[in-house]
């Protein structure tokens, strides 16, 4: 029981991390929480959860077809777990898709606004309908243990046509998931890009899906100390291996037909990845299962099944994410919130699975878990010492998992706090001073972040036109102490962000430590706060007095970003001057950014 307890503890922790990541995504949006880009818009959620998740859930319709359509009664015992796995696979897929689309609250649009030319339209409808069918098939498992057990029987009686519908829907949308990639033939790497993708997708999905059922059944038996029926599981595994072999044959035909063996063996990382993927997805599982070893040893069967499961997930990640890297000229790697969302969704599905098998008849009649001696089922001691996280207290499941949940939620908030609490992580680039084109510093090249957008600023011309040496303060509006006509970049030190130009600790020390507070915070009747504190110019009149006006709130504490400061100062003056000097285009972008042919973007 200890390993089950530990696994559940880890799943609870991951689920809570995922929950915080999901909240962060819903509050701050995709840009702030994911590493998706316009070049690589398909990330971990769409491929790792959605495309791979439904592939793992195929056992539902495959077993349903075997039991209900072909009347193979010996697989009856696996029907309920298979349907539950399908329900969880499709449920987590739908939820991931909800998070992955830019405007999650429009997830229902596919139902109302039909775009019949889109593969995604077909995928959306099939996944939606098939998810409803798995829900219909799973519901009786729960209902039969409640007072609605009669309803469960009625649902069971009329289930046959619905199961048939489910089988056809699944077949349809697995092929159309593959078809999605046919619309970008130039972007998917040539090893994976073939017109046969739809067929490859459904054969590998059903093959690996059956092995998912085998793996989960073996894990159930291991965790709950039961003996697995290796005979039946072996037959299921064999069916999976046959489908994977068909996949291998079609893929082999495709490789030979398109003559891409040289590409695979060329030493490109895609080729090595493809070989690795094929070993996991085909060679290990098919080898172990067809050699007959799997029926003798549960461990070997688990290795074969686990290899196929990892292989199919890797295959989907290869096709959906990695194969785009070379053509996009960019690399995508998931952000922390993305990784924890994926893990969290799978963990929540795992916890739901444990809940179902322990409380309802999925594999066996509950209770499937012998009660542990040290484990009280419910808190007996009402007023007992639950005030601490002490050892004995946490033996109780509710106490233990709630403690894990609280601690991991708090840690997750700490981990994601930059994205969760501050919104999009802002760009922050340090400003470089302008460079002079001539000895007299008559023309200055202003390019704070040294990118390809710059302004050749004619300092001499501006000085002459605005009134010679008397005009300095029109732009140089502040002097730093012991400096005259301080340059822009000395205060506006960041390209995109406001920066603090008031050093509190410095002033505090300079003015005499703790006794100095009252020198600026003169109003002792209220808390020391910015709005009842001396303004900078009250002490620094010689530096700041020149441009100060009574209503001016600026020149205190925060300097705007370099971009904002320059645009505001230059464009503001250009708008004023364009009528005076009769140059109507003076406020256009290209007046200063001569090389950038932009229309007025303001």
């Amino acid at each position: 029981m200890k390993r089950l307890t530990r696994i559940k503890g880890v799943l609870w922790a991951l689920a809570m991390f995922g929950l915080v990541a999901i909240v962060a995504r819903l509050i701050n949006g995709l840009g702030a929480t994911t590493n998706l880009s316009d070049a690589l818009p398909w990330g971990l959620w769409k491929v790792g959860n959605m495309v791979a998740g439904v592939a793992l859930g195929t056992c539902g319709f495959a077993i349903a077809a075997a039991v209900y359509a072909f009347k193979l009664e010996r697989y009856q015992k696996l029907a309920r777990p298979a349907v539950l796995i399908a329900f969880l696979g499709y449920g987590s897929s739908c939820f991931s898709l909800f998070l992955d689309i830019g405007l999650p609250w429009r997830i229902w649009h596919a139902i109302v606004y039909w775009n019949i030319h889109s593969f995604l339209f077909e995928v959306a409808w099939c996944v939606m309908l098939y998810f409803s069918i798995t829900l219909y098939e799973t519901a009786p498992v729960i209902l039969e243990r409640t007072k609605f057990h009669k309803l469960a029987h009625t649902m069971h009686r009329v289930a046959f046509p619905i199961i048939l519908l489910g089988i056809s829907l699944s077949t349809l949308h697995h092929t159309s998931l593959g078809s999605l990639f046919l619309v970008s033939p130039t972007r998917v790497h040539e090893i994976w890009m073939t017109m046969l993708i739809p067929v490859l997708f459904i054969t590998s999905a059903v093959g690996a899906g059956l092995l998912t059922l085998v793996l989960i059944t073996l894990m159930y038996n291991y965790l709950y100390d039961k003996k697995p029926d290796l005979d039946v599981l072996g037959s299921v595994a064999k069916a999976g291996a046959i489908l994977l072999s068909i996949y291998a044959i079609i893929k082999g035909y495709d490789i030979v037909n398109r003559d891409i063996i040289p590409v695979i063996l060329s030493g490109q990382w895609e080729g090595i990845l493809f070989i690795f993927e094929s070993i996991l997805l085909v060679f290990i599982p098919v080898g172990i299962i067809f050699s007959g070893l799997a029926k003798k040893s549960a461990n070997l069967m688990a290795i074969a099944a686990g290899s196929a499961v990892i292989g199919v997930v890797l295959n989907r990640l290869d096709v959906g994410i990695l194969s785009y890297f070379r053509t996009a000229g960019a690399v995508y790697y998931p952000s922390l919130p993305e990784i924890f969302t994926t893990l969290g969704i799978y963990s929540a599905a795992g916890l739901f699975f444990f809940f179902m098998v322990e409380n309802f008849e999925v594999f066996d009649k509950p209770p499937v878990r012998p009660k542990d001696a040290g484990e009280a089922q419910s808190p007996d001691s009402t007023f007992g010492p639950i005030r601490s996280f002490g050892d004995g207290v946490l033996r109780n499941p509710i106490h233990r998992y709630s403690a894990i949940a609280v601690v991991s939620l708090v840690l997750a908030v700490g981990l994601f706090s930059s994205s969760l609490l501050k919104g999009a992580p802002m760009l922050s680039e340090k400003v470089a001073p302008p460079t002079a084109l001539d000895n007299e510093r008559m023309v200055l090249v202003i390019n704070g972040n040294k990118n390809d957008v710059s302004v050749a600023f004619r300092h001499d011309m501006h000085k002459a036109m605005l009134g010679g040496t008397q005009s300095c303060i029109r732009c140089h509006h502040l002097d730093m102490p012991d400096d005259k006509n301080t340059a822009c970049w000395k205060c506006h030190t960041n390209m995109e962000q406001k920066t603090d130009i008031f050093k509190h600790a410095f002033h505090q020390e300079k003015l005499g430590g703790n006794d100095s507070c009252v020198k600026c915070h003169t109003d002792t009747s209220r808390p020391r706060w910015r709005d009842n504190t001396k303004k900078c110019y009250e002490c620094h009149e010689e530096n700041m007095g020149m441009l100060f006006t009574a209503d001016d709130k600026s020149y205190d504490y925060m300097a705007p970003s370099y971009v904002d400061a320059m645009h505001k100062k230059c464009v503001g003056c250009h708008i004023e001057m364009q009528n005076t000097v009769d140059r109507p285009a003076l406020d256009e972008c290209y007046t200063c950014h001569g090389d950038v042919k932009l229309q007025t973007v303001r």
Binding site: S378, P379, D380, S381, T382, F383, G384, I386, R387, S388, F389, I398, H399, S402, A403, V406, V407, L409, V410, L411, V413, G414, S417, L421, H504, A505, Q508, G513, N514, D515, C517, V518, S525, R526, P527, W529
Partner: protein, 252 residues
């Protein structure tokens, strides 16, 4: 350097500690309610001998009866005028003043309210600065008196563990540094350091709230119901309790 640490302590660290307190206390209440429900199920089980028969003490299975007695108990202890003990009235009164001071001061301090307003946009009326100072000094004085009381009084000393002294010391540090931070001219140490200690000690108290006996801030209603209500033993019950606990050979 010091200001960076201060920024971290009252930024991310504060958020984590405060959230831990909220979730931790919520967890304790939920668990206590679950425990209460289970105990209630046992009351309905007639074999649960410790409870007196209905005809002697009123029907314990009557839900109205339970909530009425419970609520009365909570209210009685929330305004503990009737419970100023005759044996130690001075310390009872000091304890009540201590509770009022340490609850009212941090919640209604203008400086704290301004931070809430800046951080989450919610503010509420606060105390005038002088009153807050007085309350802080009262809190500090009452902590010293209660600390000495725990050390000197025979009964209190037996009941006190290390944790009780440390928690009092922690609250003393929070209020002491708070007072010094509000009046830097009085402070022997650097303002930023005072503030850092204040914030760190405050954060520590948030973490300790659900983990220590400080949890009584949310659990006191349940503590009340256990003593005032569940343990109403009819005459002759002592023997039965002893029998339950020690078996046949018990001698009371």
């Amino acid at each position: 350097m010091l200001t960076d640490w201060l920024g971290f302590a009252r930024g991310p660290l504060f958020i984590m500690c405060f959230l831990f307190m909220l979730l931790g206390l919520l967890r304790l209440v939920v668990l206590e309610l679950i425990g209460f429900k289970n105990a209630y199920a046992k009351i309905e089980d007639k074999d649960f001998l410790i409870f007196s028969p209905p005809e002697q003490t009123g029907d314990i299975r009557d839900k109205k009866f339970i909530s009425k007695t419970w609520l009365a108990g909570i209210m009685e202890w929330l305004i503990p005028v009737r419970h100023i003990y005759k044996s130690k009235p001075f310390f009872s009164i000091v304890s009540i003043i201590f509770h009022i001071a340490i609850i009212v001061t941090p919640i209604f301090l203008m400086q704290h309210i301004l931070l809430w307003k800046r951080g989450v946009g919610v503010g509420w009326p606060g105390l005038p600065g002088h009153l807050a100072d007085v309350l802080t000094v009262v809190a500090l004085a009452s902590i010293i008196i209660l600390f000495l009381y725990r050390l000197t009084d025979k009964d209190a000393r037996v009941l006190s563990g290390t944790g009780d002294y440390l928690l009092l010391a922690l609250i003393f540090v929070i209020f002491g540094t708070g007072l010094l931070a509000a009046h830097p001219a009085m402070s022997p140490v650097n303002y930023s350091l005072t503030m850092l200690i204040h914030v760190l000690a405050g954060n520590l108290s948030f973490v300790l709230l659900p983990l220590s006996k400080l949890a009584h801030v949310v659990l006191f209603p349940f503590n009340r119901v256990s003593s005032d209500f569940f343990w109403r033993l009819p005459p002759g019950m002592g023997d039965k309790v002893a029998h339950e606990l020690h078996g046949e050979e018990a001698k009371v």
